[in-house]
Symmetry: none
């Protein structure tokens, strides 16, 4: 089934609104095993007819968003009717819904809004319970006379109106248009500590050999979602293969991100963590506290940028800093152990590095970082890693590696330095 999206709206071309509808619709369709061939944004007005015409020539299904409002530049209804040569007729069904909608708000349906009750003859109305503009489905038969064979769906632009209509009405209609097939499913496996290209190296060929299985990769912040979709049995087999190949690099299978997994693991064990940050400057603790329930696992967070703060708050001996530099193995070890002591937590994460853009040396170029984890009754572990690049990227990757040290310690598995 060849599907095209036509998103209408001058605000999208001006960049005043980001076209999140296209990505959301793409994801929904991909989960059904359907693929979007092309997506186009056209401005409000007559350009809609041109965009719609081209798409209807190429595709089996055209999903149009926007242009169903009450104002003069909302012309999707008119353009679709014109393309298929259908008269517009006032729909009693839609008028009733509009009167009910406005009545609830103590208003009468005004003249402009009446336009929304005009329906191309033969089109199916898709009721909109959360807004005034109904959707419309022009079945492919309606276009035959003019030489078109595409199903055209006209859908509202605002995401809160579009989403329920898509899920409840459009997707079932599309599935009915598909030939009978086996039940389908979709599984997301989230990996961290390994870059996309290495993941591809490990799993792509094996998955491609499973004919009928669809896969995709979605880059997150420091993680990669591996998406498998297709017939249920095949998806399960694919997931088993990915688990075997990726091992402990698989972080979650419910789309939970690293800090959520870490908070959950700590909650399960009733344990507390504290953080001592230099170069990440609060990103670690900020990510933790983005998770609801963090207050039950986060003891304290120390941001110790200066050497004086490292000494005063964490008890790092000043002569250790003087002898080795602030970005060094002995200092990160002292930070982690000092943080554990000062906070009374069960685990303490420490980071010290050169975020840049300035401050690098030949020995310790920008991007160099030392990470440490100290835990009650367990040996302290420290690592030197290297994340060259922009400051925000450095902070993100460093925080990801630190959480990964903690996750692996909580799960009782050895830390693997990230494979870039």
């Amino acid at each position: 089934m060849r599907i095209e999206l036509v998103n209408t709206g001058t605000e999208l071309l001006l960049g005043d609104t980001i076209n999140t509808n296209a990505a959301w619709m793409g994801q929904r369709l991909a989960a059904l095993g359907l693929e979007v061939m092309r997506q186009t944004i056209v401005p409000d007005g007559r350009a809609v007819l041109e965009g719609l015409q081209e798409a209807a020539q190429r595709a089996d299904v055209v999903l149009v968003t926007g242009g169903l409002g009450p104002t003069n530049d909302d012309v999707s209804r008119e353009c679709a009717a014109e393309l298929y040569g259908l008269p517009l007729e006032l729909s009693a069904e839609v008028m009733d819904a509009l009167e009910a909608y406005f009545g609830k708000r103590g208003k009468l349906v005004n003249e402009a809004t009446r336009r929304q009750a005009m329906v191309p003859r033969g089109a199916v109305v898709l009721p909109n319970p959360v807004g005034t503009a109904p959707g419309l489905h022009l079945a492919s038969e309606l276009g035959r006379e003019r030489g078109y064979g595409a199903h055209v769906f006209l859908l509202p632009g605002p995401p809160r109106e579009l989403k329920p209509m898509m899920e409840n009405l459009v997707e079932p209609a599309l599935l009915k248009l598909l030939p009978e097939s086996a039940p389908r499913s979709v599984i997301y496996l989230k990996a961290t500590g390994m870059g996309e290209s290495d993941i591809v190296d490990r799993i792509q060929a094996g998955l491609e050999a499973m004919s009928g299985l669809e896969m995709g990769y979605c880059l997150g912040k420091g993680d990669v979602d591996i998406r498998l979709s297709g017939p249920v049995d095949l998806v399960n087999a694919g997931a088993q293969f990915v688990r075997a190949q990726m091992g402990d690099f698989i972080l979650s299978e419910d789309r939970k991100i690293l800090e959520e997994v870490v908070v959950e693991l700590l909650q399960e064990r009733g344990e507390w963590v504290a953080t001592a940050e230099s170069c990440t400057g609060g990103l670690l603790v900020n990510r933790l506290t983005d998770v609801s329930g963090a207050s039950r696992v986060l003891a304290e967070g120390y941001i110790t940028y200066s050497n004086a703060a490292k000494t005063k708050l964490l008890g790092v001996p000043i002569d250790v800093i003087d002898a080795n530099g602030a970005v060094s193995e002995p200092v990160v070890r002292a930070m982690a152990e000092g943080c554990l002591r000062a906070s009374g937590a069960d685990h303490a994460l420490a980071v010290t590095g050169v975020a840049g853009p300035t401050g690098g040396t030949l020995d310790k170029p920008v991007g160099t970082v030392w990470l440490g984890i100290a835990s009650k009754g367990v040996e302290t572990e420290v690592r030197r890693l290297y994340f060259p690049g922009a400051r925000d990227r450095f902070k993100l990757l460093t925080s990801q590696a630190a959480f990964e040290m903690l996750r692996r310690r909580l799960r009782g598995i050895a830390f693997e330095p990230p494979i870039p």
Copy 2:
């Protein structure tokens, strides 16, 4: 000038990546008074040629993003060369840049990456200082023989590579292609502490009266960019009007965001700040340390989620917490003053509130927050604010209000609670 965008990438159609490039480019072009006629997403592979061909027939300028990578499905270079009938030649200039890029990372240029050094004969190379794929500009003359007259720009897909190339190389090239006209300018006035609709109420009618002036609003994280573009004199008059209407709500005129302005103000005065955070859990200090040079103004950051930490690290008397609750005027005052004392900084910001989704009471519903600022030799100031909504939004707006208290204190102007 008719401009079209062609964004390539199957991940965009699958919805794995939201096409933020299109909106960003639309905004940049709008600021130059240029309008995008159409935007299209095509999947990786041969569909790029089709999309490029159609756009090149309609437009004067086609901006293509993506498809410049090292893998087999990156075919933008090949498609553009094929469309204009140009041979691909190895560019010594690009090879040098690739060797330098990989050399810095201790790697050799591999075979796949060599593809990125292939340039259609006659195309201008647009160097990429932050990535491996250079951009390319195929001037309209190169397509004449095949009957095309469009300038084609091939640009990298990753936003951090695309943005500097667009700003530094593509926009100047587009301005050169425009017919001589009255000198244009663009001014961004960034406002904070006031919601978009209130800004519109204050300035929209006045700006609309200035015929020929173009304006737009761009919502940032806790701020709003007011964009004025058009003939220089008109833009200057518009900016003067906005300054008069918005007063101290204008944060910057160089797109600097609040934490950048605050760090700069502190640097100018040679002063230090420390933070004591409960509900924002490190966002304040994390935002500060996102600014290069923060190490010269940030003394210490304390994340004191628990009552025990507030007492131990900031010296907040436990009976004050018991008597008033952790989210209260006396506690935030004690946190700010305790943080000032403990850190030895010149200014201390403190926040304590109910981020939610749980923990709210009738008296102190989710979204309630107390903010405080203590400074050496100045009276401590505290405020109760209310930001109902999601947890991340609460944290953002709270951190914004806290920085705004600091900014106004540093500038010697009274704090105004944000107008939602």
